[in-house]
Symmetry: C2
Subunit: 587 residues, 2 copies
Amino acid sequence: MAQDAVAQRIYPDPPGPAARERSHGWGFADSGFAIDEQARVVFTGSRYAISGQVIPGLLPWAEGILGLSLDPRGVHPKRERPEVPERIACPALEAALAERLPPERRSTDPLVRLRHGHGHTQEDVWDTGWGHLARVPDLVVWPVDEDEIEFVVSNARLHGACLVPFGGGTNVCDALRCRPEERRTIVSLDMRRMNRVRWIDPVDRTARIEAGATGLEIEAQLAAHGFTLGHEPDSAELSTLGGWIAMNASGMKKNRYGNIEDLVLEISALTADGERLERAAAPRESVGGDPARWLIGSEGRLGVVTSAVVKVFPVPEVRRFGSVLFRDFEAGVAFLRDVERSGSKPASVRLMDNLQFQFGQALKPAKSGLAAWKSAAERAFVLQGLRFDADRMVACTLLFEGGRDEVRAQERAIYGLARRHGGMRAGTENGERGYQLTFAIAYIRDFMLEHWVIGESFETSVPWSALEAVCTNVKQRVFAEHAKRGLPGRPFISVRVTQLYETGVCLYFYLAFHYEGVDRPSAVFAEIEHAARDEILASGGSLSHHHGIGKLRAPFLPRVFSSAALDWRARQKRALDPDDLFGCGNG
Amino acid sequence: MAQDAVAQRIYPDPPGPAARERSHGWGFADSGFAIDEQARVVFTGSRYAISGQVIPGLLPWAEGILGLSLDPRGVHPKRERPEVPERIACPALEAALAERLPPERRSTDPLVRLRHGHGHTQEDVWDTGWGHLARVPDLVVWPVDEDEIEFVVSNARLHGACLVPFGGGTNVCDALRCRPEERRTIVSLDMRRMNRVRWIDPVDRTARIEAGATGLEIEAQLAAHGFTLGHEPDSAELSTLGGWIAMNASGMKKNRYGNIEDLVLEISALTADGERLERAAAPRESVGGDPARWLIGSEGRLGVVTSAVVKVFPVPEVRRFGSVLFRDFEAGVAFLRDVERSGSKPASVRLMDNLQFQFGQALKPAKSGLAAWKSAAERAFVLQGLRFDADRMVACTLLFEGGRDEVRAQERAIYGLARRHGGMRAGTENGERGYQLTFAIAYIRDFMLEHWVIGESFETSVPWSALEAVCTNVKQRVFAEHAKRGLPGRPFISVRVTQLYETGVCLYFYLAFHYEGVDRPSAVFAEIEHAARDEILASGGSLSHHHGIGKLRAPFLPRVFSSAALDWRARQKRALDPDDLFGCGNG
């Protein structure tokens, strides 16, 4: 099982230091939405296309949708210093760890502990900014290799502590929330010091990558040698390989590269006994069941993923964006169906509903001169020339990757299909903007929360036959739940199709409402989201496409698994981790 | 979880009665190699292209390769009536089962019991024909629905019996062999009465299929409504959906349709407690681990697969075979590598080495008139015109499926790549012959065994970088092992590449030798096969690509899994089936 040096292998340099993350909120510290001194919405920094720009359309548009006015100065600020619950110390364990781990790789700092006790659900963000978390890890450690993890695992066992593996901390299912009733010392095992691509095999096109490497770090190390992993979840800048495996992640370019379960050939892990789960990697196997694959989607319950062998791909010759406008959502869906059946799916195909299309327009930076003129002319052509209805039209963004001929053939096929459904090409620039906006848009929630708008996204996978029912029913249900509670204004509920499969699609909903004057807004939001999930399941959608279960969706598990299936899961957990060392309590 | 009637669904008619299987040997009773009254090799029946034909070249060619003469009349006949071990009866259980299952769906007939105690390894075939099996099931039952299986499971538990699910009985890893030390009554649960496609959803392109349906039955039921599953393992005529799942099967057309793990969306099963493992099927999910997927590759250890929801595909517009000849194996491999990288892989691509190419030629039926002339002319062109060396050239068979334009584009791309590697197109007829021969060739082992030649195939998956080393080293090792034992003549050892993956390929070896005068030929063969497996692992190949582990390869498990990984497997088994109800003892 030892990974011997192999002549052809490339050993990349380790990644440089990562950009600083915001200690308290989404993303990198240099980026985010803000109000400037002229009371205009701006996006800070220089990291994204939108960075450094004024976004004049956002608040006016949001006011129209939410049905009430938003004062850029009228903020509901986060608490200056979040509340952090008391530590449950374990001096014997801490002394033992101090013998091996240097001080800079151990922390009991309250803010550090807090950050390791949540991901990025609505509840997580609310509770860290305006509410409070009842329980967070008592100690954070940063191991640098398997031996150190083994050491931490052994000592945690010996001293009766509980271990929680931590990747990018970006999950949106309350997976990292600590159970309030957990009275053992909770150790957060932050994997991000293990962020190297250990080797690349250019002949077999495989690489062994450490579990704590983020998408940014992986792509940088691979790109230096002409390769890419191609796994690009919306969180790819911050989330890690180990987190992707534990959460059964899906990437925006899965049509070309596959989802995480398709990319991973071998997973190395440490068990609750501190033993190494390892195996030989092969292109494909039938070996009576591979225990390492139980870690895919295990959400930290079974062991610590330490590294994995993954497929890698040559950086594509061509990478080209595209976009198409359709008269309405139905036309867009019919187009997607044909794209799926065509056998020539671009790397990424995403369809935004009308509201999300409008949202994208509202996020456009202020333009001047030629750009503004061009954009007005385009708009006039679409609305007057094609008689598209601004309140019904939708947009599809495309990303083509591959060889020159391959991309050309795909474009021909795809735009041909689009024409058949009355689609109008809207250019590569809009396509790239739409695709890249995914990363910048993740910052908006923190900003809107401070402006009295609470929001969250949630996803599902649905069979083709249930696609429109799920979209319609969820929207109706959200409006009904919002009205029933007499909440201010109107809710924002919007959907996009983000992934295509032979048998269905992934749907991604965005939900938000104004909460000024609302009692317990986070809890009310959670109730409505719960109702939306109920509606998804009742209408034929699934419990999760790629966000996972965590503690957020665990109550729904009996609706998708028979009791025998849940019993098998519980038995497996007890068999592999009888003392609940990995006591995260995820579903 | 209930599968409600859905408006759009199609409910196919049940399949007609299956063709009669040979009670004692591979395949259907109407087909097989035989010696006719003129001492010529013939293939009987009318089922395959080769059926009803005289095959004059087989024995002379085999004589040349094996280095000794083969007398068509000099046979080593199977025992007329195989030895069947005594039953271990359990009158209480048998009485209980008789209350529910009619007599025609229960059997204690010795030959029926024997057939349920083996698959088709060399050892299986030898022991049933010339040796003996130490232990076989004591009772065979044929349930028709989940309720009956639940009834059998409950009663087996109650009466302390052991259950072995049985599909097509085609495994080649001693999975169905009963442990001689098993003193409980062994009940074989023959699933083949559950052979219906319950429904097809033409919108979502899914179908629920019962676990006991064979490939033939599935394709017939789907084809009646314009669909195909596209899963075509070499055993597809006889093997079942449940068996494919339990063995983690791979099909010849996996490039287009995927392997079994890609095709299955949901698996329904009965646990050792007689509980139903069920869940909602979705296009793709992240639900904290899906216990049903543990059944993939479970080899009957964990539960009884009862049905599954699978993807189905429209029957392709075009299905076209092709073939290409290359100067040598290295050129063929270089071509495969380019095909894999081209992104336009045909449904099936297989490369035979020189020996296997010769074997295919030797199996050609006798030709007369124009056909013989044409074939001689073709041969002359290849050997003299192109100066291909008859002892080095290799053949690649291709199968294209898809839309007319798609297939045309693939053909253009693939034949273009072939030319770059000096390949010569050898026509659709040779391609189809090569592909279809897969099914007929499966009958040859029984025939050759009676003519003093013992043989077996075995497979592995290898990374691209290890492909040639594995081929070369295995061949050398087999020759060395053969020589070391002073066995007669020379061994036949040949390989073909049957599956392409991004990171490597599946290799399929054929091994045979003459055994007249050899003491314990089956055991000697097993030793040499074991040595070949050792060589595969030492050279970078895997333990199995799709044949599974069973009892045959279990001794090698510690070479591919760390002890912690094996421990996890053992713990899972104990947790899910603590009394070892599914006591098949597979690795």
